[in-house]
Every structure is written in structure tokens, then in C-alpha cells.
């Protein structure tokens, strides 16, 4: 697996800086959450890490290469992304959507071969979407669509998977199924996961590493219990929270609504 790292990355939209001097490397086979208040630069950081936008200053390296110098096809073999903007108007069957994940691995006139079809089949199986294979994506529920998108990234067979708030607009049952799926991909399929999250409890529960952003700066990065602390949250979000360690020791619960402020 090539190493993905950011060196002195800064980025600005128009005049105000949205990211400033970010240095970090993406933990190999890790589960990294990017957290921070609205406008802190989480999504921008994810777009830079995934090569979609180019930093104004600094570089993103993937192995020996500069990420922005790789072609889209090369990049798509390394990093799969589920952005927060998805479009489902075209009624493609689920299976066709998942097959799109094979695109970077195919030449122009090459058809899907037996191997590709097996990979698609496996992706359907892992995400438990096999029964939906012929259904048009436009007719699925948000939870099902999110699973199909994850299946597409599985078919893409990349070492890195990046997601921008995949749990928004989902009820708790579907949120749980998405996070369990990501956990499985991380543990059993050796994918490095980077995820933008608003939900601090989810970040604390599922990540191995948490990066906390504050107004475009990387305030701190480390283990969840080191980063998600009452002091840090107070500083960055300006909110009082209580943090309870969970039963398993790993799980923590963050309470924000029932505290005095």
C-alpha cells in the first residue's frame, strides 16, 4: 500500500484561508475521522487528500508521486471516494452502478470479464445488496443507495476509501449498518478509511485516529480519547460537553444537550 501524506498544505477559496499549513499522513490500514465545526475545512481537506482539488501551497504525496500529477484513472485505482453530492436521477440498475467501479481497470473497448463480474458479485454480497441488483438506483431508499455506493467503491478495489458524511439523512438503523460495513472493509479488506463526520460519538466509536480541525488548521490528531476531550471540544466548538466512557472501554458517549452552558 502506498503512503498518502500531506506536506504544508494550504488552500483558499477567494480571499480567506480555508486550510492552513496542514501536515499529516494517512495511517496505513487505519480508520481516520476528520471532525470540526461547520466551515472548519473538513470537506475541503478531504477533496485535497483525494486529489479532486489542488492545494494552493504544499503537496499531497501518494507513494513517490504527487497526487495532482496522476491521471484520473491512476488515481481511481488508489483512492475511492463517496462525496456528499450524489445524483440518482438516471435510473441505472444497481448492478450497472457497481460495475462503474471497474472503469479505471478497463481499457476503452474492454468489456467486463469473468474476473470483473466476480468482483461486482462480491461487492453486492458484502454490502447485502444482491437482492437489489436489477432495481433502478433512482427507486431505492437513502440507506440502500449508500450501501450501493459503498459496493461501487469495493468494486473499485482501492487501498483508500474516503467518505464525506455518509451517515447524514440516515436513520439510526441504517447508520449502524453503514458503520459496521466500513469497519468490515477496514478490518477484513485492509482498506484505509478516511471519513468526514459531524457525529462525535460515531467518530469516537469507530475511528482509530481522529483529526480535529479548527478554522482551517489541524488542531490535533491522535487517538479518539486524546482528541475528543471536553477541553478540546470547548475550545473548538464553543460548547460544553460531557464525555462518558462506554462499557467496552473503547466506546464513548458524548452528551451535548443536557449540559449547562
Amino acid at each position: 500500500m502506498p503512503e498518502l501524506s500531506l506536506e504544508k498544505v494550504s488552500f483558499s477559496y477567494d480571499s480567506n484561508f480555508s486550510l492552513q499549513d496542514i501536515n499529516m499522513s494517512i495511517p496505513e490500514k487505519g480508520f481516520l475521522s476528520l471532525i470540526g465545526p461547520n466551515g472548519s475545512g473538513k470537506t475541503t481537506l478531504l477533496k485535497i487528500m483525494s486529489g479532486l482539488i489542488k492545494p494552493k501551497i504544499g503537496t499531497v504525496r501518494l507513494g513517490n508521486a504527487h497526487i495532482n500529477e496522476l491521471g484520473a484513472r491512476e488515481l481511481a485505482k488508489q483512492i475511492a471516494v463517496i462525496s456528499s453530492n450524489q445524483y440518482f436521477e438516471f435510473p441505472f440498475p444497481v448492478e450497472t452502478i457497481i460495475s462503474m467501479g471497474r472503469f479505471p481497470h478497463l481499457n476503452r473497448l474492454q468489456q467486463l470479464d469473468q474476473n470483473d463480474l466476480e468482483i461486482v458479485e462480491k461487492a453486492l454480497h458484502i454490502t447485502q445488496t444482491t437482492h437489489l441488483r436489477n432495481r433502478p438506483i433512482s427507486q431505492l431508499s437513502s440507506g440502500e443507495r449508500q450501501r450501493v455506493l459503498i459496493a461501487r467503491t469495493i468494486a473499485q478495489q482501492t487501498p483508500f476509501l474516503m467518505l464525506d458524511e455518509p451517515n447524514t439523512h440516515l436513520d439510526i438503523k441504517h447508520q449502524i449498518s453503514i458503520f459496521r460495513l466500513l469497519e468490515e472493509l477496514n478490518k477484513n479488506h485492509n482498506m484505509s478509511i478516511v471519513i468526514v463526520l459531524h457525529d462525535l460519538t460515531a467518530a469516537a466509536t469507530f475511528s482509530q485516529t481522529v483529526a480535529l480541525l479548527d478554522r482551517g488548521k489541524l488542531l490535533t490528531i491522535g487517538l479518539p480519547q486524546e482528541v475528543i476531550t471536553t477541553e478540546n471540544i470547548k475550545t473548538v466548538y464553543g460548547a460544553n460537553v460531557e464525555i462518558y466512557p462506554g462499557l467496552s472501554g473503547k466506546f464513548s458517549q458524548i452528551n451535548y444537550f443536557q449540559t449547562d452552558s
Binding site: S83, N85, F103
Partner: protein
């Protein structure tokens, strides 16, 4: 193969209609000369123009992720028309100038619509249509200016503007046929990219599509097809709107099938429309563009309402 049968059926329907159309017209007992010299070129023309307009409609709807994209509504046909008329009033008789101006202005107009409507890679569906209408109005204004300067040719220009399949210049028909075929073939080879582009440009990039290159090529090819159709038939509207949408219902959204199906559907649509145009009010002939607009405008309203309710194409 179910899809294969559907395509075969469309192909057969096109051939049968073409054959039948040889015997439809204001003269009920036509001589072979009429059939061969007048009706046959018209049928070829209907096929070429139907292929070009419906093919470009399918491509534009995919790239712009907009079910209301149609070369007529987006102002592309208007721009190509302005190019054609400009070439003829400037006195350039050579085909290369005519096609160059038609293609150039069609492409330019698509890019303008795109620039007006898109902010940060996204545009609400209505905004693209609005931008298209504005560009179309501008092109119409240009056409009317040319028109008023060269009024002595007004009548033939007027008929051309309304959209007809009466062009008799075999060289023009051959050139248009060639470039429409080239446009269709190229875009068909890009079907997979086109499918992925419907998922949004950022998502397409992350799936490995060189978005800017693909988009540029698709816009050029769509303009080529529009210019090819407009150069021989003027502004025939709504073929590119109605046909790809109907075909998406019949064969599904996959462009590998949708592009050929739309081309055949466009030919069928125009063959029928032209047969009606020739026979509804004998001995008069209704401009076929007026007929397609009669069918197309209610369909446009239907799509506009449907899109708002279900979100599906």
C-alpha cells in the same frame, strides 16, 4: 438479448417507415421521378436529421445531467442556423465555410450556456434551460438582422428557419450524413464515460474519468451533430428532447444502447412527422419543425412537472 431485440425492432421500424414514406405525399399516383428525385432524398434527410438531433439530445442530456436538454431549447440549433445564414449572406459558397461556421457557432453557444448556468460544477435544471433560451434569443436576433438585410431571399430563409426536409443539394446531404455519422460513432465509443458522467462530475473524476477532456469532446461531437442536422434542415425543435426521453423508458439509461436507440427513434419520429407535414393540408406543406414543436411543447411541460415530483429522468 432483450435489449438487442428492441434495437432490432427500432431498426426494422425505421426501414419499413422509410419504404412506406416513398409512397406518401400530395400526389397520390406519383411517377418514379417524383419518388426517386423528391421523396427519396427527403427520406434520407429525415434519417440523417433524426439521427443528428436525437443523438445530440441524448448526449447533451447525459453530460448536462438534464432531461430538458435539447439542441433547440439550449439555443444550439439557433446558433448553428445563424452560422449557416451568415455563411450564405457573406457569399461563401464553399461547403467548408458553411459547416465551419455552423459547427463553430453551435459549439460556442453550448459553452456559453454552460458558463452562464454552472457555478462550481452544478446548475439547477431550470437555470440551464433559461440560459439556453437566452442564448437562443440572441441567435434569433442575429438571424433577424441578417434576414432584414437580405430580405429578397426572405421566403426561402423563412422556410429554412421553420425547419424543413426539402433540401435537394446532394453534396450537402452527403456532408451532413458523414458528420452526423462521425458524431454518433465517437459519442457511442464514449458511452461508458457518459454513463459515469451522469453520476456527477466530481464522482466521475473519482471513478477515473478525465472529466474535462471527456466533456470537451462530447460537447464538440454534440455540436457537430447539431450543425450537420441544421445545415440541411434548419431549426427542427424538440426531436432531441422527446426521443431520448422515450428511448430511456424503452431501453434504459445505458448510453451504449441509448445512443443508437435514440438515433433510430429520431429517424422514426421525423419520418412520421414529415409524412404528416406533406399530407395534412394538401396541396400545402406544413413546415415539419412546426409539427415537431406541436408535439414537443406539451412533452416539455410534462417533463418539467414530472421531474419536480419524482426526481427521475
Amino acid at each position: 438479448m432483450k435489449i438487442g431485440w428492441k434495437l432490432l425492432f427500432l431498426l426494422l421500424a425505421t426501414l419499413l417507415l422509410s419504404l412506406a414514406a416513398l409512397f406518401v405525399g400530395p400526389v397520390s399516383d406519383p411517377s418514379w421521378t417524383i419518388i426517386w428525385k423528391i421523396r427519396f432524398p427527403r427520406i434520407i434527410l429525415a434519417i440523417i436529421v433524426g439521427f443528428g438531433l436525437a443523438g445530440s439530445g441524448a448526449v447533451l442530456q447525459g453530460v448536462l445531467r438534464n432531461p430538458l436538454a435539447d439542441p433547440f431549447i439550449l439555443g444550439t440549433s439557433g446558433a448553428a442556423t445563424a452560422g449557416v445564414i451568415l455563411a450564405s449572406i457573406l457569399g461563401f459558397q464553399h461547403y467548408s465555410v458553411l459547416y465551419f461556421l455552423a459547427l463553430g457557432s453551435a459549439l460556442f453557444s453550448i459553452l456559453i450556456v454552460y458558463k452562464i448556468a454552472y457555478i462550481n460544477g452544478r446548475a439547477p435544471i431550470q437555470t440551464i434551460v433559461l440560459a439556453g433560451v437566452i442564448v437562443g434569443l440572441f441567435c434569433n436576433a442575429m438571424v433577424f438582422i441578417f434576414f432584414s438585410i437580405f430580405y429578397q431571399e426572405s421566403f426561402s430563409i423563412l422556410y429554412y428557419l421553420l425547419g424543413t426536409l426539402t433540401e435537394g443539394d446532394m453534396t450537402r446531404i452527403a456532408i451532413s450524413g458523414t458528420i452526423v455519422a462521425a458524431g454518433l460513432t465517437t459519442t457511442w465509443f464514449m458511452s461508458r464515460e457518459l454513463n459515469i458522467l451522469t453520476q456527477g462530475e466530481d464522482n466521475a473524476f473519482h471513478l477515473g474519468v478525465e472529466v474535462e477532456t471527456a466533456k470537451r469532446l462530447l460537447f464538440i461531437m454534440a455540436s457537430t451533430m447539431v450543425a450537420g442536422a441544421v445545415a440541411v434542415a434548419g431549426m427542427i425543435g424538440f426531436v432531441g428532447l422527446v426521443v431520448p426521453h422515450m428511448m430511456r423508458i424503452i431501453v434504459g439509461p445505458d448510453h451504449r444502447v441509448l445512443i443508437p436507440a435514440s438515433a433510430l427513434g429520431g429517424a422514426i419520429f421525423l419520418l412520421i412527422a414529415d409524412a404528416l407535414a406533406r399530407t395534412l393540408l394538401p396541396p400545402l406543406e406544413i413546415p415539419v419543425g412546426a409539427l415537431t414543436a406541436l408535439v414537443g411543447t406539451p412533452y416539455f411541460v410534462y417533463l418539467l412537472r414530472k421531474k419536480r415530483h419524482t426526481g427521475e429522468f
